[in-house]
Symmetry: C2
Subunit: 235 residues, 2 copies
DNA sequence: CGAATTTCTATTGTATACAAGTTGTATTTT
DNA sequence: AAAATACAACTTGTATACAATAGAAATTCG
C-alpha cells in the first residue's frame, strides 16, 4: 500500500479500534491528539474526524473541552450488557440465517479459520479480535440498519468484558474455548442451511457459554475462595 | 442566548435534525458545506464535525469524496423497521418503567403536554417532533447504552415514515392521533407506577397503532381501491 | 497556615489557506 | 455522429496558524 493520508487515517482507526477492544487502552483513558498526530503522520483535523467517527460507533466518548477518551466501563455496564445481549444476538443471528449471501458465508468461514488459529497459537488479544470479527460478519449478514448500531456497540464491550474476565485458570475455562469454536461451526452450518430457528437457538447457547465464562471469573475456584464473600449467581 | 460559536453549532445541529425528521430535507439529498457554512456563520471545520456527529447518530451518511447526504430510505427500510421496532420499543419501555427518575417523569409529562398542544394547533411536522421528543425521553429513562443506539435510530425513521404515510384522509386516521395521545398518558402512568409489564404491553399497543396507520396509507380506503391490487396485510 | 484569586501553561476548538480529487463539459479524434 | 480524452470549475479533504478555554501552579491576602 502506498503511504497516503487516507491509509494513515485507516491505520489510526484500526489501531484505536483494536487497542480499545483488547484493552491495550484502558476504558476511560484520555487520548492525546498531539501524540497520535505525530506518530501517525496526520494533522489534527483528520485525526479529530477519526475520533468523532469512533465516538459515533461507541468506542470513544467526546467531552467538550476535554477531548476524547476511551468509552468507560462502569458498574452498570455488565448488568446492562446482560440485559441487552441475549435479545440482540438472537435477532441478529436469526436474520443472518435468512439473509446471508454465499460470499458472506465464505467470509465467515475465513474468520472462523482465523479464530481457530488464534485459539492454538495466539494470545488472548488475538482470540478476542478474531472472535469479534466473526460476530461482526454475522451482523453484516443480518444487514438490518436498525439493529446493527446496538449489535456493534455490544460487540465492543463483549470483547472488553471477555478480555477482563477470561483467564484460563482451570480446565473448564480452557474447554469453553473449544466449545465456543464448535458453536461457531454450528452457527455457520445453520446460516448456510437458512435455518433461522437453529441460528437463534445457537445464539442463545453461545451467549450462555459466554455468560458462564464471565460468572466463572466471579467465582473461579468454588472451593478455594480467598475472601469468601462472593456468592455465585446461578440464576 | 449570546451568539457564540458553540450556540451556532447547536443551532445547525438542531436545524439539520429537525429538517431531517420532518422530511424538510429529503432522504438522500446532498448537503452543501459552503451554503450551510455561510448561513450559520460557522467555518467548515466545526460544520463538518456536526456532520460526523449526525452521521454517527444515523441522520446523515458520509460518502468519501462526496460529502454528506441525508440518510436514505430504501425499499428495505420499512421491512427492516417493522422487524426491529416492536422488540426494541418493548425493551426500552420496560426498562424505562424500572429506571425512570422523578425528574425524568416530569420531563415526559411536559413533552406529552407539548404533543397534545401540537395535536390541536400544530401541523404534521410539529406533531412528529413532539412525538419524537416524547419517545426520546423514554429512551433516556431506560438508560441502557447498548439498546439506545438502535432505539434512537428507529426513532429517526419512525418520524420520517410517519411524515410520509400520515395524511388525515379519514376520520379513523384522525382518531388514531387521540388514541396515540391516550396511550402516551397510559405510558406515563405505567412508568410512574414502575409497572414494567404494563409498560411493555403499552409499547406493543402503541406500536400496533403506528403500524396500522402506516398500513392504512397503503390501503387508505378499503372499499374504494382505484387499482384493486393491493391486498391488506392483516397478520 | 490556609483559602481564594490570579496568572500561566497546556490542550482543545476554530478559521482560513491550500491541496487533492471529482464531475461535468467541450473539444478532438475516429 | 459517437466516443473518448483532456481540461476547467467546483467540491471535498488536509494542514497550519490562531483563539479560547480548562487545569495547574503560584502568589497574595485573610
Amino acid at each position: 500500500m502506498t503511504d497516503t493520508v487516507k491509509n494513515r487515517k485507516a491505520a489510526l482507526y484500526d489501531h484505536l479500534k483494536t487497542s480499545i477492544l483488547t484493552l491495550a487502552l484502558d476504558p476511560g483513558s484520555d487520548l492525546d491528539e498531539a501524540d497520535l498526530s505525530t506518530s501517525f503522520g496526520l494533522s489534527r483535523t483528520p485525526l479529530r474526524e477519526v475520533f468523532r467517527e469512533l465516538a459515533g460507533e461507541g468506542y470513544l466518548e467526546l467531552h467538550a473541552g476535554r477531548g476524547a477518551r476511551v468509552s468507560g466501563m462502569s458498574h452498570t455496564t455488565v448488568r446492562d450488557f446482560f440485559l441487552a445481549a441475549p435479545m440482540i444476538y438472537g435477532a441478529i443471528l436469526r436474520l443472518a440465517a435468512l439473509n446471508a449471501s454465499p460470499r458472506q458465508i465464505e467470509e465467515l468461514r475465513t474468520a472462523q479459520d482465523r479464530f481457530r488459529t488464534a485459539l492454538r497459537t495466539g494470545d488472548a488479544a488475538a482470540r478476542a479480535l478474531a472472535n469479534n470479527r466473526f460476530h461482526e460478519i454475522t451482523g453484516e449478514m443480518a444487514g438490518n440498519v436498525y439493529l446493527l448500531p446496538s449489535f456493534y456497540r455490544l460487540l465492543i464491550d463483549h470483547a472488553r468484558i471477555g478480555m477482563t474476565f477470561y483467564r484460563p485458570q482451570n480446565n473448564e475455562m480452557a474447554g469453553n474455548l473449544t466449545a465456543a469454536s464448535d458453536q461457531h461451526d454450528a452457527i455457520i452450518a445453520a446460516i448456510e442451511a437458512r435455518d433461522a430457528d437453529a441460528a437463534a437457538r445457537l445464539a442463545d447457547e453461545h451467549w450462555k457459554l459466554s455468560r458462564d465464562q464471565i460468572e466463572m471469573f466471579v467465582m473461579p475456584a468454588p472451593l478455594d475462595m480467598p475472601l469468601g464473600t462472593f456468592p455465585k449467581n446461578s440464576a
